[in-house]
């Protein structure tokens, strides 16, 4: 910092001669402030003012104390400009920590309350004739898998063909409008997708229609744009040399795409599709409207109501029986299973992307 601009700060001191806080001091102040407020809240608990030790409060107020301290200290020692820099640094860090709090709290709660019913019965029993304890979510898990699988079956061919069109063929107005509306489609609220699928089927099958396939259509409306966007990005990074080499050998365009471009980008495409699945598998609102809910097993996508895991979580919470606890416990376990499925899909997708990625991609 020996090249600081020569100027008079508001305090009137010369910045060239202003002091500098030792490196790493901010971390010490942060930890110190946390300790101070942990002590404060422990005292509050010991004195009986609060019933529990307030972890979130301790870290939140500790971080705020750190923000104030670091700015004041820096202002005294380092002068105005540096103090402002420190202020922004600490605010930005605070924003990050504040956002971590709900994430940590959420994951902790889901795991700690979800393990209560994370047992064998949960995975091989349905809710048929269950009005209190026991029961499981097998019907919901089966439903989720079937509905999502069928949605994938619809979306993947359409999505990948569209992205091929956009990358390999698309010129002019049609391509531009497809790109634009795919972007717009990513913003369709999930419940509107549900309403669309419902209205579509209600015209043919009457207003009481509830079936797994309706839910699949709703999910694929949400899934197609995601698949298109990710596949498009992947197809774009296939090097042009490969295409040109193939054309030079006299291979027709469609064979070039099928035999050269798709195999090259297979890993990326798989990753994109799995991320898209993980995105729609947790959707609740469209399924609530389209597949309805039931307590029994139903393997048939094309007739009758079908339970899905997100809807199961919702109904267990919303329609609690006379004794609420087993219902809420089942809801938390459902949430845990759902999060595990989504995380697994995410991890697997990234692994596939990393392991099978062609060598040129980076």
């Amino acid at each position: 910092m020996s090249v600081a601009i020569r100027q008079n700060t508001s305090t009137g001191s010369n910045t060239l001669t202003a002091g500098k806080l030792p490196k790493g001091i901010s971390w010490w102040i942060l930890v110190g402030s946390w300790i101070v407020f942990i002590a404060v809240f422990l005292l509050l608990k010991a004195s009986g003012t609060t019933a529990d030790f307030n972890v979130v409060g301790a870290f939140f107020f500790g971080t705020v104390l750190f923000d104030v301290l670091i700015v004041v200290i820096s202002r005294v020692v380092e002068g105005g400009r540096k103090a402002k820099d420190r202020l922004v640094t600490s605010l930005v860090t605070t924003a990050f920590i504040v956002t971590l709090l709900p994430l940590i709290s959420l994951i902790y709660t889901v795991i700690s309350r979800g393990v209560a019913r994370f047992d064998v019965a949960y995975f091989n029993e349905s809710m048929r004739n269950i009005i209190s304890v026991g029961g499981g979510a097998l019907h919901a898990i089966v439903g989720t898998l079937e509905v999502t699988a069928f949605a994938t079956l619809i979306s993947v061919p359409i999505g990948i063909l569209t992205s091929i069109y956009l990358v390999e063929y698309g010129r002019g107005r049609l391509a531009r409008s497809i790109t634009f509306f795919v972007d717009v489609m990513t913003g369709i609220p999930s419940i509107v997708a549900g309403l669309f699928a419902y209205s579509l089927f209600a015209i043919f099958a009457g207003p009481a229609i509830r079936a797994g396939v309706v839910g699949s259509v709703a999910l694929s409306v949400l899934m197609i744009p995601v698949v298109v966007r990710s596949s498009e990005e992947i197809l774009k990074i296939v090097p042009n040399e490969l295409r040109e080499a193939s054309y030079a050998l006299g291979v027709p365009k469609w064979l070039t795409i099928l035999k050269i471009i798709l195999p090259t980008s297979l890993a990326g495409l798989t990753t994109g599709v799995m991320l898209a699945i993980s995105r729609v598998i947790g959707e609740t609102a469209p399924l609530l409207l389209t597949t309805g809910f039931t307590t029994s097993m139903n393997y048939n996508l094309f007739s009758d109501r079908m339970m899905t895991l997100p809807v199961f979580v919702y109904t267990q919470y919303a329609n609690q029986g006379p004794i609420a606890t087993p219902y809420v416990e089942r809801a938390w376990t459902g949430a845990l299973v759902l999060i595990i499925i989504v995380m697994l899909l995410n991890l697997l997708a990234r692994l596939i992307g990393r392991i099978f990625a062609p060598k040129f991609s980076r």
């Binding site: 469609w254 979580v313 919303a318 809420v328």
Partner: protein, 318 residues
Amino acid sequence: MTATAERPVSTGRPKAKIRLGDRVFSTATVLSGSLILLVLVLVAAFLVAQSLPAFFAAKGTLPDSSTNFWTYVGPLVFGTVWAAFLALIIATPLALGIALFISHYAPRRISQLLGYIIDLLAAVPSVVFGLWGVLVLAPFIQPFYNTLVDKLGWIPLFAGPVSGTGKTILTAAIVLAVMVLPIMTAVMREIFLQAPVLHEEAALALGATRWEMIRMAVLPFARSGIVSAIMLGLGRALGETLAIAIVLSPATVINVFLLTSQNPNTIAANIALQFNEAQGVGLNTLIASGLILFVITLLINMLARYVVNRRKDFSGAN
């Protein structure tokens, strides 16, 4: 290959042979591309078809004894916009902070990991957020609401009577804010990372502090990206359903009180709560309110995309 030399020179450009496979394949891709446009049109058409009865419904047939469709949907539109607005007020500064933290403040080595952690939030299904909001956040934050109403009750926003359960629109907005953070952060982060490094280094070389560098080199470059990130977040927040349906304790009112148990409901949450019991015109009314939501989000998303596309350099928005 010698045959080419002997071939008589044609007058026009050489014509490529048209193969059946090529025809079939390119037609298939065009069809599926057009199918997407068709779906979007169909979404609009079916929603309109199903909502027409609601628009022309006679007095007395609508739910909540509303005189016409617009008096029914009015409070819902207000609630939707109000909840999304509150969520954005909370989420925007946080998203800016997180994006800057990841792109410019955190050590290079862990910044990608931090990005993953924020993306984790996006992987949590909305129903789980709802469950967490109502069973963890609401009881946790309710004592704080008590204090707010006691001390600051003279400000209209914090007017009482305070909700005893914590299921207020402020709680819903906090949950919404957490849910829209990942998309906003992701877009902003991309754009901050694309800021020209030479400008940043020049600013630092002139003796600017890190904040001055960001203010002079990064923020002006990223302005339109920030706007579009906010609008994408807004689109998400407007359409969010289950979290609100679970967390909010709704009423048919228009008010701006944050902490009471009489909260304006949102369109999406209202549909989710009423749909399975609705029939006849009631059903059409719900679908019509969905159409309104569709139009609102469509306009906002198109605006956001337009802002992004105007400066193609900011292709960071996914």
